[in-house]
């Protein structure tokens, strides 16, 4: 296996498109573990750490740009991630443990597309857009269309995720990523990512996504519509939870049976709403 650390994104893209078996390495939190277990066998690893434009968080106009190699710890510690973006910060704060958050990056986590991870649901709830860089230019993919299946995204093989763009609007919104897990630092059995804005008692914006509930985050426009404009009464939340529960398609595994996971959803949604109200 070869290891290359290109200094620029165009250089990295050139190496990637020339070699089908090359893989990008950001923080390594997942890829190195997979290599240790012989689950993947790349011909070349493209280390991304010297590419400055992939690193760090910046606020520009109507969105917050989080570079792909920004670590979970950096995101968890950035107080510019407020309002709509708070849900992303809240998710970052709860990923594994400090030593992992110091290594893992948002780009790596998102491209790995483990549906049990925390970022996918949070990015859907925040209506984030993922920026993919290719040799012919860049394209923007809404989070809703990015996560396709278990460990599968809409990124092309010769593209590199360059940034995650989180809209600043709605400014008055609040976000919460609520995680139900067996033990601290574990993957979620079920997670709820919720962004809410409330104006004089009525909900003026709602976006909710459920993680660990199927091959991709579960997000239903009809649930957002049901909550938006409502007074978020117990009855409304129950209906919303019911719809999400029916749409969920989780697996049976060590973190809970599919049925158990489904049954957690309505209660966890109610708890998330209560915390944001």
């Amino acid at each position: 296996m070869k290891y290359i650390e290109p200094a620029s994104l165009p250089e990295a893209l050139e190496i990637l498109s020339a070699d089908d078996e090359a893989r990008c390495l950001a923080g390594g939190a997942t890829l190195v573990a997979m290599l240790n277990a012989d689950l993947v066998e790349p011909s070349t690893l493209i280390g991304l750490r010297r590419i400055d434009e992939l690193a760090g968080i910046s606020v520009s106009g109507d969105h917050i740009r989080i570079g792909a190699t920004t670590t979970h710890a950096q995101i968890a510690g950035d107080d510019r991630l407020t309002g709509n973006a708070a849900v992303v910060r809240d998710a970052a704060r709860q990923i594994a443990h400090s030593a992992i958050r110091n290594m893992g990056t948002i780009g790596g986590a998102v491209c790995h597309a483990d549906p049990n991870a925390d970022f996918p649901g949070a990015l859907v709830a925040a209506n984030a857009v993922l920026e993919a860089a290719g040799q012919s230019g860049r394209r923007q993919i809404p989070a809703d269309e990015f996560f396709l299946d278990y460990l599968e995204t809409s990124l092309e093989e010769d593209e590199i995720l360059s940034a995650v763009m989180v809209p600043v609007e709605p400014v008055g919104a609040r976000g919460r990523h609520l995680k139900f897990s067996r033990t601290h630092g574990d993957y979620a059995t079920i997670s709820i990512s919720l962004v809410l804005a409330i104006n004089s008692g009525a909900c003026s914006h709602a976006r909710v996504a459920v993680g660990s509930a199927g091959p991709a985050p579960v997000h239903l426009a009809e649930v957002d519509a049901l909550l938006t404009g409502s007074d978020l009464s117990g009855e409304t939340i129950k209906q919303a939870g019911q719809k999400l529960m029916e749409a969920a398609d989780p697996v049976d595994d060590v973190r809970g049976s599919a049925e158990y996971r489904r049954m957690i959803i309505p209660g966890l949604l109610q708890r998330a709403v209560d915390e944001l109200r």
Partner: protein, 166 residues
């Protein structure tokens, strides 16, 4: 055929000239090339925390990092803690409180705690528990490790005047 990459690895302020394959983890290189076997390798997928070391001031898992990624960084391991025969205060707190039994996980805990307390010198009890939950210990039941951290926090906040917040 040699796919080895030569570079300088800085561990405990000492420079090691190493030549390693790209897929050798930092944990393995520290142990095998630098001969510093205090860093333990347990699960090799980032769960157990036995290989926790400090890289550029932050605790990381040495099993989840390739050695080549550590070029240009400052690595600290358990061997860099004591000053000659004199134990570092975190090590002494472990000894005073019997914060270990078999000792396999201890270097990882010491490095985790040292880095965490450099960042937050006066953690609450809750913050200490959250921090310790990152690493696995199958002997002690954690309480004596917790007591060791409390002793260390008490000593260091007395000397620095930082507020203890529990």
């Amino acid at each position: 055929m040699s796919d080895k990459i030569p570079f300088t690895l800085n561990v405990n302020s000492r420079e090691y000239q190493v030549s390693v394959e790209a897929r050798q983890t930092l944990a393995d290189v520290i142990r095998e090339e630098c001969g510093l076997t205090g860093t333990r390798v347990g699960c090799e997928h980032g769960v157990c925390g036995s290989c926790t070391i400090i890289v550029d001031g932050a605790p990381v898992r040495a099993c989840l990092m390739f050695a080549v990624q550590a070029e240009g960084k400052e690595v600290r391991t358990i061997e860099g803690m004591a000053d000659g025969e004199e134990l570092h205060s975190v090590q002494r707190a472990f000894s005073d409180n019997h914060g270990l039994q078999c000792g396999f996980c201890t270097p990882g805990f010491i490095m985790l705690i040292t880095a965490a307390l450099e960042q937050n010198p006066a953690p609450t009890d809750e913050e200490i528990r959250e921090m310790l939950s990152a690493n696995l210990c199958r002997c002690t039941g954690y309480q004596n490790i917790f007591n060791a951290v409390k002793q260390y926090v008490g000593e260091s906040t007395e000397t620095t005047g930082a507020h203890k917040n529990d």
